[in-house]
């Protein structure tokens, strides 16, 4: 076993890139004596510190766990490759940020799964911690490995590596899980007995208790429990009342700049717009709002405890929050003296309320980000993005009149039914935005127009109406990117960004993969793949070789269209929305039929099966 040494660590920190990633000592970090806690939890965001420190979910759960006098939660991140190599060279185990305790000494190591391209980092963290990579190889001495977050809705590619998945909202489930581990530990229960006890908690999935069999064509034949503790269907957890849900009264304030370095108010959870490509929109149903009163109280707590200069409002669709204008007014008024500014990310463009914009303008003006997603009305109807060109024109004109001059436009390419006309449409939209700027009189508009069009590659995700759709093959994507580049080149003044199609292909594999992909993941990590989301560490050859060596065809997962009756690897999870609803939506999509927001009438997505959660 590796042994931790403070002096060895200090030595390697002197040559590490950005050593402040590993040193801790931040304001509001919770320090508890390690050995006095009944349950110790190492919470890992499997990416770099500055990314992980930006994540709201961990802040919430860190607060909830540490609020229990008998429990302790500390943070762990994936060391940057230079540091990972240095730890290996010096034979040092990975340690927690707060108390520098080797990760392996914790009772539980939890991962949040925010995107598929962090999966190799999970193996890296386990390996650096001296924890066996596969659940079946772990001993009574090893921590229980947990995982949650949006990617846990298709947990299968990680099945052999994770002991326990938490599916759905974590606030209540996490507490039940650590209480269960505490009880098992007190009773000196074995690892197997502990996993069985955990499996009985609603929302928890223990992959070792299930078996998958396959048809000759490679599709899934059956997925069945093989342990009495396991239920055939795992139902996601829903926190019914966000006003009663715990929310941190302080955030850890990092010294080095995190990606999101500000106070965040989660104004609501869930979205009922029903965009068909959007996994979050399906997973986080139903919509639950926090009251104005709760939010203002939480804002006070955060402003006073963090000293942050900025508050941002977070949700999938902030424009739909019932009291948005009131909230913006109240916040700007409240903190004008303290010079705290307000920003609203993820504004859907049909909801850019002029009044709110003017409120925001009083303090600070960041760039405006809008997501038309597709270039034509037809394709926007296919994806059920209920936004028209008039909406867009109105929104950007308003913004330009109010002094904005930087606009980012997000599009996707490779959406179902896409044709060249849709790519042309993206050029048209960009042109329209430029024109809107020039229709505003010079005296009214700010100088320095900057329009950026960004095109990501569509990745079909589990639990969306597009879960049956095949992703465009790499060649098609590249061809479309080139066409779009030419189209946007002709629109003077627009910057164009696109993503590596290879990465989107890998994402597509893992987003809808099954257990057999775990071997590919392991092989890729052994080939040196890690920090896959960072362009400087892109190692597509490592991945290609891993697929070849494992005899797995990535096209089977990424590009293949699934049939109506195919058993999907995530079908055993009840995510709220039913398969029947998703299929109905898939059929409507192919006919470009729009489905209205369910606030205007129930669309029968399945959430009403959950008692008392859905507003009719």
């Amino acid at each position: 076993m590796k042994e931790f040494s403070e002096s060895k660590l200090e030595k390697i920190l002197d040559t590490a890139l950005k050593p402040a990633r590993y040193t801790g000592g931040e304001m509001n970090a919770v320090i508890k004596p390690f050995d006095s806690a009944d349950v110790t939890f190492a919470f890992c965001f499997p990416d770099a510190y500055e990314v992980g420190m930006s994540h709201l979910g961990i802040k919430i759960l860190y607060h909830i766990i540490n609020k229990q006098p008998w429990a302790l939660c500390e943070r762990v991140y994936t060391p940057w490759p230079d540091m990972a190599d240095a730890l290996r060279r010096e034979n040092l185990p990975l340690f927690s940020i707060e108390s520098r305790t080797p990760v392996r000494r914790f009772d539980i190591l939890g991962f949040t799964l925010q995107y598929e391209m962090c999966y190799t980092n999970i193996l890296e963290v386990l390996d650096l911690s001296d924890i066996p990579l596969r659940s079946c190889d772990r001993t009574e001495e090893d921590p229980i490995i947990m995982a949650g977050g949006p990617c846990a809705y298709n947990p299968e590619p990680l099945a052999p590596f994770i002991d326990v998945f938490q599916i759905g909202d974590g606030e209540e489930m996490m507490l039940e899980a650590i209480e269960c581990v505490r009880k098992c530990k007190a009773e000196k229960a074995s690892r197997l007995e502990t996993l069985r006890a955990l499996a009985k908690i609603e929302g928890i999935y223990v992959p070792a208790f299930y078996e998958a069999t396959y048809n000759e064509d490679g599709t899934l034949k059956a997925f069945t429990p093989i342990d009495n503790a396991a239920s055939p269907i795992v139902r996601k957890r829903i926190v019914r009342d966000l006003d009663k849900a715990d929310y941190p009264d302080s955030f850890i304030v990092p010294y080095t700049e995190a990606i999101q370095d500000r106070s965040v108010l989660e104004i609501m959870r869930g979205c009922t717009k029903g965009c068909r490509f959007c996994q979050a929109g399906m997973l986080y149903r139903p919509v639950r709002e926090r009251s104005l009163e709760t939010l203002l109280k939480q804002a006070d707590n955060l402003v006073n405890s963090t000293g942050y200069e900025e508050i941002s409002l977070s949700s999938l669709s902030s424009g739909d929050y019932s009291h948005l204008s009131e909230l913006c007014c109240a916040l700007t008024e409240r903190y004008a003296d303290k010079k705290v500014s307000l920003s609203l990310p993820s504004m859907r463009l049909d909801s850019v309320v002029k009044q709110s914009l003017e409120e925001m303008q009083k303090v600070r003006k960041a760039g405006l980000t809008l997501a038309p997603e597709a270039g034509t009305q037809r394709l926007r109807d296919v994806i059920n993005k209920g936004v028209t060109e008039e909406d867009l024109v109105r929104a950007v004109t308003d913004a330009f009149q109010s002094g904005w001059s930087t606009v980012k436009l997000y599009f996707m390419i490779g959406l179902p039914t896409e044709t060249d006309a849709d790519l042309e449409g993206i050029g048209h939209v960009a042109k329209q935005v430029m024109n809107c700027y020039f229709t505003v009189p010079k005296s009214q508009r700010a100088r320095g127009l900057r329009v950026t069009a960004s095109a990501s590659t569509f990745v079909p995700k589990a639990f969306t109406p597009f879960q049956w759709q095949g992703q465009d093959p790499l060649d098609t994507i590249r061809e479309k990117q080139h066409k779009l580049k030419d189209i946007l080149y002709a629109v003077k003044g627009v910057n164009f960004n696109w993503h590596d199609p290879e990465l989107s292909m890998l994402e597509a594999c893992f987003a809808r993969g099954d257990r057999r992909l775990a071997d590919v993941l392991l092989a890729a990590w052994k080939n040196g793949c890690r920090m896959d989301g960072w362009s400087e560490f892109t190692n597509f050859e490592g991945w290609t070789k891993a697929f070849e060596d494992c005899g797995v065809d990535p096209a089977f997962y990424a590009n293949r269209e699934r049939g109506e009756n195919e058993l999907l690897p995530w079908d055993f999870i009840d995510a709220g929305v039913t398969r029947a609803f998703l299929w109905r939506e898939w059929q409507r999509a192919q006919k470009a039929e729009v489905t209205p927001d369910c606030r205007k009438g129930c669309q029968g997505c399945g959430l009403q099966r959950f008692e008392g959660v859905c507003r009719k």
Partner: protein
């Protein structure tokens, strides 16, 4: 009025850079609720000046910053409130209220005292100190943005002594006119001792001085 504040930057956070430290202090002041002064302009920020930035990787036992205030506050209230808003790794030791026109610490700075802990394998460095200091000139290669330059650092070393088997204590010039960093001293000492690979060291800044080696915060 403005406050002259002495604070400690704990070894744990020695890798925090100067700008990050500045931001951490600004946020602490915001948390403290003290009547601090904001700059004018579109993005108002808190005005703080540090006597001298610490090198990345170096802790400080006795660092000095100046904080202009918008209203009168007692020294003890200032100290209590600011400390309550700081993590244990940043701790204020004293605060002294002076008038706005009080000369800036940065301008009065003359020298600083350091302690340098040398890894066991480098203990031979200590043996070379006496002959090192007996030299008439001590030539060292200073690397700057514009290139390398050979300079005599002897006049910039006010004191250099061995305090325990692998620990040095030194007082070096640190002023707007002339500065000698610990790294430069160590490079020269290694060269003198004929040690090719510089051993790992941990340096800490103990104190800053004005003219005649009066502690800077007392000026």
């Amino acid at each position: 009025m403005k406050m002259l504040v002495v604070f400690e930057k704990h070894p744990r956070i020695r890798h925090i850079g100067h700008l990050d430290l500045m931001r951490a202090m600004q946020r602490a002041l915001r948390r403290s609720g003290l009547p601090v002064k904001f700059s004018q302009g579109f993005n108002p920020h808190l005005l703080i000046t540090f006597a001298a930035p610490l090198s990345v990787g170096m802790p400080g036992k006795h660092e000095i910053m100046e904080i202009p205030l918008a209203a009168e506050v007692s020294e003890s209230e200032f100290l209590t409130k600011l400390n309550a808003a700081l993590p244990p790794e940043l701790n204020c030791l004293s605060a002294r209220g002076v008038e706005d026109k009080h000369p800036a610490s940065m301008a009065s700075l003359y020298a600083a005292e350091y302690e340098i802990k040398i890894a066991p394998e480098g203990a031979a460095l200590c043996d070379a100190v006496a002959s090192f200091m007996a030299q008439e000139t001590i030539m060292a290669l200073r690397k700057t943005k514009s290139g390398e330059k050979l300079i005599d650092i002897k006049p910039l070393i006010y004191k250099l002594e061995v305090t325990s088997p692998a620990t040095l204590r030194c007082t070096l010039a640190l002023s707007e006119a002339a500065t000698c960093k610990c790294d430069l001293l160590l490079d020269a000492l290694c060269a003198h001792a004929g040690i090719e690979d510089r051993p790992h060291t941990l340096s800490i800044r103990l104190q800053m001085y004005g003219k005649d080696f009066i502690p800077l915060e007392l000026l």
